[in-house]
């Protein structure tokens, strides 16, 4: 049996008294593409942010590639990881945000190069060549010197994908990567993601693009109110939802 890339068991997350995740249990296998669906406020973003420890979970167990997120286990005790150790683990997980979050004071090329140079200590020459190749791969070979403000939303998001890939992650998290885009720009970004999935990348994707879910996902998970309501293949969950809440949600977005 292969070790899962992500394993969540009864993950709880509270913000103050508001319980946002109420016991999430799921596994993502290496090379699997999982699409997370759910109404606004159901906790999808929060769950993604827990996976790379941008948020701390309150209870349950969450591990990536066999190692606990944010803690080290020795005997029956948990030890908090140092900040540098947390950073090192985050470097292995790529994340793409709804609003791109490119660094506006850097060109597209610098955006992609900076983390490999600063974090992985890759020599500048090599980081540069790799960044060029990545930007070419996402279809932006002529935008190397452009600042984010000079790019369209779709182009910015593809730079953001290249920036995450430059760290050679073993897992990619996408939080509504196309929600802030004009409809005609969505296709290019989904194309880049589809290509990535085809190359065997493990991906967790929060999206409302049902076409993408049906075509690319191996598993679709429907979340509501901080809980997993339904899990299965895209055909199963999208075509024959068992649960009332899933049906209600799908009837609204389809």
């Amino acid at each position: 049996m292969t070790e899962p890339m992500v394993r969540a068991e009864g993950v709880h997350k509270r913000f103050g008294r508001l319980e946002v995740l109420k016991g999430i249990t799921l596994t993502v296998l290496p090379g699997e593409v999982m699409v997370l669906l759910g109404p606004s406020g159901s906790g999808k973003s929060t769950f993604l942010r827990c996976i790379n420890h941008l948020e701390k979970i309150n209870s349950g167990r969450l591990s990536v590639d066999g190692e606990l997120v944010g803690y080290r286990e020795a005997g029956d005790k948990l030890y908090e990881l140092r900040e540098s150790e947390i950073a090192r683990k985050r470097a292995e997980i790529g994340m793409v945000f709804q609003h791109f979050n490119l660094f506006p004071h850097m060109t597209a090329l610098e955006n992609v190069m900076s983390a490999p140079i600063r974090v992985n200590k890759v020599p500048r020459e090599r980081a540069n060549a790799q960044a060029r190749a990545l930007l070419e791969r996402v279809g932006l070979p002529d935008k190397l010197a452009a600042y984010p403000a000079q790019l369209s939303g779709g182009q910015q998001q593809r730079v953001a994908i290249a920036r995450a890939l430059a760290m050679e992650p073993k897992l990619m998290l996408f939080d509504e990567p196309t929600s802030a885009l004009d409809p005609e720009l969505v296709g290019d970004v989904l194309q880049a993601m589809k290509q990535l999935a085809g190359e065997g990348m493990t991906m967790i994707v929060v999206t409302h693009e049902m076409g993408f879910a049906a075509e690319v996902a191996d598993t679709v998970v429907f979340m509501d109110d901080g809980m997993v309501v339904e899990t299965g293949s895209p055909d199963r969950v999208l075509g024959d939802p068992r649960h009332e809440r899933t049906r209600a949600f799908l009837s609204k977005v389809l």
């Binding site: 790379n52 900040e83 790529g94 994340m95 979050n101 060109t107 974090v119 600042y147």
Partner: protein, 314 residues
């Protein structure tokens, strides 16, 4: 650029659908210009022809070695005090934003204290520090280890007293400016940098501060210009900077107005240099924030002259 008097024609000129309209004439503008010129000319006339002003005295002392020494000291004091202010300000701002109250608390207290007392009082305080701490040492407290020590009067010279008074006070103001800059950078930037595995220091240095600069630099330029002039307060504690240098001269020759004009000319000249510096710094840190770089002043003046010429040739 085209030669003098030529009218720049857009490349599409001459096409049948080009609009040819009589431009609006701005008569009111010309009247205003005439009035302003008239007022300016009469002011200059009165200043230039007033015999009591004795411009030759101003000219005589403008490059006097004592004045130049004062200018140099004023510059030195401004630069070093601002350097202390900026470094302290960044440190205090980062501390103040810490979630740990043991870190943010002292920073808050510092900022409160130095903003709550006049800088002139602080200068006098440092100048007189020897009265309560005659002996000063640097070492590990309570265990009696001392690396350097000396009498307060030799360690705290007037220059050091002025530097401490101005620099420590400036730190409190700079802290608020830097904090505003840091807060202005969206949380998404930190999220993205963290998810790439950057450390907290790297995020501050490479991602947050460079973007905060856009917000930090204009008020910092303002602070520097202000410091240039506030440094004249150091004359009160007998530091011979530009103002005291001029005072020393006019207390002998009894020509205060002329020497104060000399001082003003130098202050204004130094301020103007700072203006230019600030402009180019802003341009540098503004990169990426707009689709096009703003024009340099030279480009703008050239463009302005050009459009004037165009209007004149109509």
């Amino acid at each position: 650029m085209s030669g003098p008097g030529r009218i720049e024609t857009p490349p599409t000129a001459g096409r049948p659908d080009d609009i040819r309209a009589v431009p609006v004439r701005h008569r009111g503008r010309w009247v205003a210009v005439a009035l302003i010129l008239l007022f300016g000319a009469s002011l200059i006339h009165s200043v230039a022809t007033n015999k009591l002003l004795e411009w030759h005295v101003v000219g005589h002392f403008l490059f006097d070695p004592r004045i130049i020494d004062g200018v140099v000291l004023t510059l030195e004091l401004t630069v070093t005090a601002m350097a202390i202010g900026v470094i302290l300000g960044v440190a205090l701002a980062v501390m103040r934003l810490s979630p740990n109250p043991l870190v943010s608390g002292p920073s808050w207290l510092y900022i409160w204290f130095f903003r709550a007392t006049p800088v002139l009082v602080q200068l006098l305080f440092w100048y007189n520090i020897a009265a309560i701490y005659p002996r000063i040492s640097l070492g590990i407290p309570f265990v009696g280890v001392e690396f350097v020590h000396g009498s307060a009067n030799t360690v705290i010279t007037t220059y050091v007293a002025a530097l401490l008074g101005l620099g420590l006070n400036e730190g409190a103001y700079m802290a608020e400016i830097v904090r505003a800059g840091i807060i202005s950078v969206g949380e998404g930037q930190t999220d993205a940098a963290q998810s790439l595995g950057m450390s907290r220091l790297q995020i501050m240095r490479r991602i947050v501060l460079p973007q905060a600069m856009r917000v930090i630099i204009p008020p910092t330029g303002n602070e520097t210009i202000s410091m240039l002039k506030t440094s004249s307060l150091a004359s009160v504690i007998t530091l011979t900077e530009l103002l005291l240098a001029t005072e020393n001269i006019y207390s002998v020759n009894f020509k205060p107005i002329q020497l104060l004009i000399v001082a003003s000319i130098w202050y204004a000249a130094m301020t103007s240099v700072l203006y230019v510096g600030q402009y180019y710094l802003e341009r540098h840190y503004g990169r990426g924030s707009a689709r096009e770089m703003p024009a340099t002043p030279f480009q703008r003046i050239r463009r302005g002259l050009f459009s004037l010429r165009r209007e004149a040739t109509r």
